[in-house]
Every structure is written in structure tokens, then in C-alpha cells.
């Protein structure tokens, strides 16, 4: 049964990829690329390395797609690959941990979003990312998955291989440390 690409579920897309359609994999790259870059960047702290790691993670995911049994969400399964690939890359190579300003998702300049607000938002995001890069990688990783992707502590435990209790502890510590760091730099309205 051939369904149009945009109406296919992820499961159907995976089946299509396994049947040999590489183009369908583009959907997964588009959907999970930004979060994968964020996760990888939290661990390696370098933009160029993060992109290379994400590229490798996507290729790994493509080749091991047959082993995805669909018991968990595709995102959890894939982020686990990204997480492990990032950790291996950091172990194998001393990455440059210097914080580098990164590209944010481009928001189309709309008329109602005034320029000053955009600059403020950009600066705020820059500060948050700078603060996140000062946290322990596991803490920033847990915070990223919990607040950006709405993963439960159980799902985060699955991705990172930590215990559920450990995830909760890291979440608590991460929140505390991030608050301390941000209170020094950000002024809340």
C-alpha cells in the first residue's frame, strides 16, 4: 500500500525505509535533527563536533533501524543512539569545550515580532546555553530532555542508562545549579 509521504505514520515510514526508500529517512532527519544537535552539544560542547556526531548517529540509526522494535518512541530510541555516540566521541577525542555561539532555529521575521524583542530573545537564549554548558553534561542533558522534549524521568532513564532515582537527583541538582548560574546573569521581569 503506497500512502503519500506526509500522511504516513512513523511506523509506516520505517517500514518504507526498510524496504529500501532512503528518501523517507529525510523526514526523521528533519524532525529530530535540532534536538539531536542540542543533546550532542550538551555533551561535547562544540558545534562542529556536535554536527559530525549527529551525522554519525543518523547513519547508525539508519543501519540499525531493523533492530527498532517499536516498544518505545522512535525519539527515545534515536536519542539514546545520539547520547551514546556523543559519549564515545568525547571519550575518543578531546573535544574543544570552549563555548561557541550557535545557530538558533531561524524564525521568519514577522512584522508583529519587533526587532528589539528578537535581539533580547536571542541574547537570552545565548545566556541560557552558556549557563547550560557550565553544568555537568549529564545534568544539562537531563534538563534538556525533561523540559525541551517533555520526556518522563523513566524515558530519560532509558535514554541515558541512569536509574530513575539518579535522573531525579540530576534533575534537581541541574535545576538548582542552572538557577544559581542564571540568577547571576539574567534579570527576571
Amino acid at each position: 500500500m503506497n500512502l503519500p509521504a506526509d500522511t504516513m505514520s512513523e511506523k509506516q515510514k520505517i517500514e518504507a525505509i526498510l524496504a529500501g526508500s532512503i528518501d523517507e529517512f529525510g523526514y526523521f532527519v528533519d524532525t529530530y535533527r535540532d534536538m539531536a544537535i542540542t543533546i550532542s552539544f550538551r555533551i561535547c560542547g562544540n558545534t562542529q563536533d556536535a554536527e559530525d556526531i549527529v551525522q554519525n548517529a543518523f547513519v547508525k540509526a539508519y543501519h540499525s533501524l531493523a533492530s527498532f522494535r517499536g516498544k518505545s518512541k522512535f525519539s527515545s530510541w534515536f536519542y539514546r543512539i545520539v547520547y551514546n555516540t556523543s559519549l564515545n566521541a568525547v571519550r575518543n577525542k578531546n573535544t574543544n569545550k570552549e563555548y561557541i555561539d550557535f545557530q538558533y532555529p531561524t524564525k521568519k521575521a514577522t512584522q508583529d515580532l519587533d526587532a528589539l524583542q528578537t535581539i533580547e530573545e536571542h541574547e537570552r537564549n545565548k545566556m541560557i546555553n552558556a549557563a547550560m554548558s557550565k553544568l555537568h553534561p549529564s545534568e544539562s542533558m537531563v534538563l534538556t530532555l525533561y523540559y525541551m522534549e517533555d520526556f518522563s524521568t523513566k524515558e530519560i532513564a532509558n535514554i541515558t542508562g541512569l536509574s530513575k532515582a539518579n535522573v531525579k537527583i540530576k534533575l534537581h541538582r541541574g535545576r538548582q545549579n542552572l538557577s544559581n548560574l542564571l540568577s547571576k546573569t539574567l534579570v527576571f521581569d
Binding site: D23, F25, V29, D34, F58, Q103, E121, N125, L178
Partner: protein
């Protein structure tokens, strides 16, 4: 209190998602295509290497028959026997070199 804290963090962190290079998608799809091509090429070469064996096995089968023929004829055509032996040695050496070279290249890819 906890919910307020959670929503504050959610708002703060929601904008901090990073974005990769737009070319990353084409890089990934290209790499997958190249790796797939290499894989199928490797499979093709493996099967062609197996196929290469056939003529040499035929040669090995012909050689004892030729031996029987020359023994029966009382080695009247000894120089031809010598040429046949030399040719088969050269063929075997050539096959061995290409086979080993193929294996080495496959290991590299």
C-alpha cells in the same frame, strides 16, 4: 510552587534549542547512499570473486585428464605437456594475486 518552577524552566529552555546546518540533511542522506553503494559493490565483488574460481576449477579438472592422455601416448608430446604445465602455473599465480588483492581491498572498504 513546583509547577510554577517547572513552567518557568520550560519557558526558559524552550527557546534554547539549537539548530544544525541546513546542509546536514543532504550530508546524512549522501553518506547513507554512499555506504549503501559500497555495501552492494562489496557484495557484488564477493560474488564475482567466487565466480572467478570456476574457470580455474575447470583447469584443475582438465589437467589430470591431459596427464592421463600423455601417459597413454608414452610422453610423445613432452614439450606440449611442459607448456601446459607452465601456462597453468602462470594462470594460478595470476588468479592468486588478484584474489589476495581483492580481499585486501574489501577489508579496506
Amino acid at each position: 510552587m513546583k509547577k510554577n518552577e517547572d513552567s518557568t524552566f520550560k519557558i526558559l529552555l524552550s527557546g534554547a534549542k539549537l539548530s544544525g546546518n541546513e546542509r546536514l540533511k543532504s550530508r546524512i542522506l549522501n553518506q547513507i547512499e554512499v555506504e549503501n553503494a559500497l555495501k552492494s559493490n562489496k557484495a557484488l565483488r564477493q560474488s564475482s570473486t567466487k565466480g572467478n574460481l570456476t574457470p580455474f576449477w575447470m583447469l584443475y579438472a582438465v589437467f589430470p585428464l591431459a596427464g592421463v592422455y600423455f601417459i597413454n601416448t608414452g610422453f610423445e608430446n613432452a614439450p606440449i605437456l611442459f607448456m601446459l604445465l607452465l601456462t597453468s602455473i602462470v594462470c594460478c599465480a595470476f588468479w592468486a594475486i588478484t584474489y589476495i588483492d581483492d580481499k585486501r581491498k574489501m577489508r579496506k572498504t
